[in-house]
């Protein structure tokens, strides 16, 4: 259920992380695309009299957004807490288990194929079960889905990161006659950081998706997912779109926060990326 790439190897700085550091001038094409899209959307809806249940005009969505701002942000915050809780639990458990597995290699070798297989499982189908485990109106059930979704990509990537240390680095450490703990602290953990953050960015997106889909299967009406479902059913499409907008803003914000944390934690890396040519 990873809907962002598990890269062959992590780029020094992925996606938005690098964009944060871009110069303002580099943003001009992106802003142009946004303005153009909104313009065509607005114009098209007006010109062709597109029915509002098909696609409301951006202006109508914006009106719904501003009119319901208070309720929307409250719903968004509710959902975001679920996502954040699940993210913390899932990623935390994944990192801890990855460290154990990286320390005892035979265990890791035995478990990795299963973790990779689990990564290929549509875990989202598990969402209704967590609603049976926990009171569906509480946040716990959604946190559980989000946590399970976050777990596998982070686990697989961190194990890979912790074990992708160059043999000579280990030889050097051996020449200093230091213990396993120091090797972990000085070599394995720093080496795994780019891998960790690549997967944390994936997990931030998955956590939001997990929370919202969990809510879809039954959740408190204080949440985004349940409201999107209800508003769509009641033909309140402008409001549903406004809720989607809130979900996107929170999702992007979450992703950017992780990307920023990556930037701060791996400052030592050279700038680079797609435009390396």
């Amino acid at each position: 259920m990873s809907s962002a790439p598990v890269a062959v190897q992590p780029l020094p700085q992925g996606g938005v992380a690098r964009m944060v550091g871009r110069r303002a001038r580099d943003w001009i094409p992106a802003i142009l695309v946004l303005v153009l899209t909104l313009g065509v959307w607005q114009g098209g809806v007006k010109a062709f009299h597109v029915k509002r249940f098909l696609l409301p005009a951006p202006s109508a969505i914006w009106t719904a957004f501003t009119n319901n701002q208070h309720a929307l942000w409250r719903e968004g915050w509710f959902t975001f807490q679920e996502a954040l809780g699940g993210f913390a639990i899932g990623c935390g458990a994944a990192v801890l288990l990855a460290m154990v597995v990286a320390r005892w290699r035979p265990l890791g070798n035995a478990l990795m194929p299963y973790a990779i297989a689990a990564n290929a499982v549509p875990i989202i189908a598990f969402a209704p079960i967590t609603n049976a485990w926990f009171n569906p109106l509480t946040k716990s059930s959604k946190m559980a889905v989000a946590a399970v979704l976050c777990f596998f990509p982070v686990f697989v990537n961190v194990v890979r990161g912790l074990t992708s240390v160059k043999p000579q680095q280990l030889e050097l450490m051996r020449s200093y006659a230091v213990g396993q703990l120091a090797v972990f602290r000085l070599v394995r953990i720093p080496t795994s950081l780019p891998f960790l953050f690549t997967s944390l960015k994936v997990a931030s997106v998955l956590a939001m998706i997990g929370a919202i889909i969990g809510e879809y299967f039954g959740g408190s009406l204080d949440s985004l997912g349940a409201n999107i479902k209800q508003d769509a059913a009641l033909f309140q499409f402008e409001k549903a779109w406004a809720e989607i907008l809130v979900a996107c803003i929170l999702g992007i914000g979450f992703y950017l926060a992780v990307a920023l944390a990556e930037r701060l934690a791996t400052r030592w890396q050279p700038p680079g990326g797609f435009q390396s040519e």
Partner: protein
Amino acid sequence: MSAIAIGQHGRPRVDGVTRSLEKASLFFVVLAVLYGIWEGYRWLGIHFGWTHPFAVNDTTMPHIHDMVNALFQPTRAGGPLLVGILWRASLFTAKEAALGFAMGAVGGFALGTLLAHSRVLQRGFLPYVVASQTVPILAIAPMVVVWLASLHVTAWISVAVIAAYLTFFPVAINTLRGLHSADRRALELMRSYAASTWTILWKLRFPASLPYLFAALKVSATASIVGAIVGELPSGIAGGLGGAILNFAQYYTFAPQNLWATNIVAAALGITFFLVVLGAERIVVRRAPENLA
């Protein structure tokens, strides 16, 4: 997995059979351990009346043998066996996912290739390609179905479009990344032959991008199944696994094992898709066993 690949290195071939046996027995050992953990936790939970993190009982944690058993029982008296229902549902969902996967992969590859050749386009579109993934796809799924229905598109194709949406992103990003991964010296060699942009793309950049592309396709294989299942949920399509999940979720308190059994089948479908892509990779990118998964 790469650790296993390293372990294979330089061992005499005689060990091959032994190692396959070892692997097979390890597989069953791990399965048995997982089974033991599940049943053990269940027993302890019921015995001591655990309520944290959730109350353990037959509804929350059915016996694993009950789940498997449920597959070979009819869901209602005189009806077909569950496994038969789920088999047809899997084929239906697989059809949606496969079409979506194909559309998403082609679209993603095309966009990735386009962006790789223009920095302005890259700056213009890349932020939105990344941002598009934070859109909770489930939320827009009903709109997509309504849009396409108004264009007289069959419902299952709408679901394929949703699956394509999830497939597309990893492929686009990794195509871009892969096309840029070509060795600088190899590029210079191509330029020294005065090769055209197309020749360089086809003879050099594309082969260089294959490991990246397959890494993305493996992620996308699962994503397409997720997209298909999620797409079925709000579209009122009952024929697939998403419909089955929705249906059995409603009757969960009466027959929890049915939903668990459906999950097992969904997992099997996801892993099957993954393995198909893995097999394709093995054939196409013979030189890169270390890129497994």
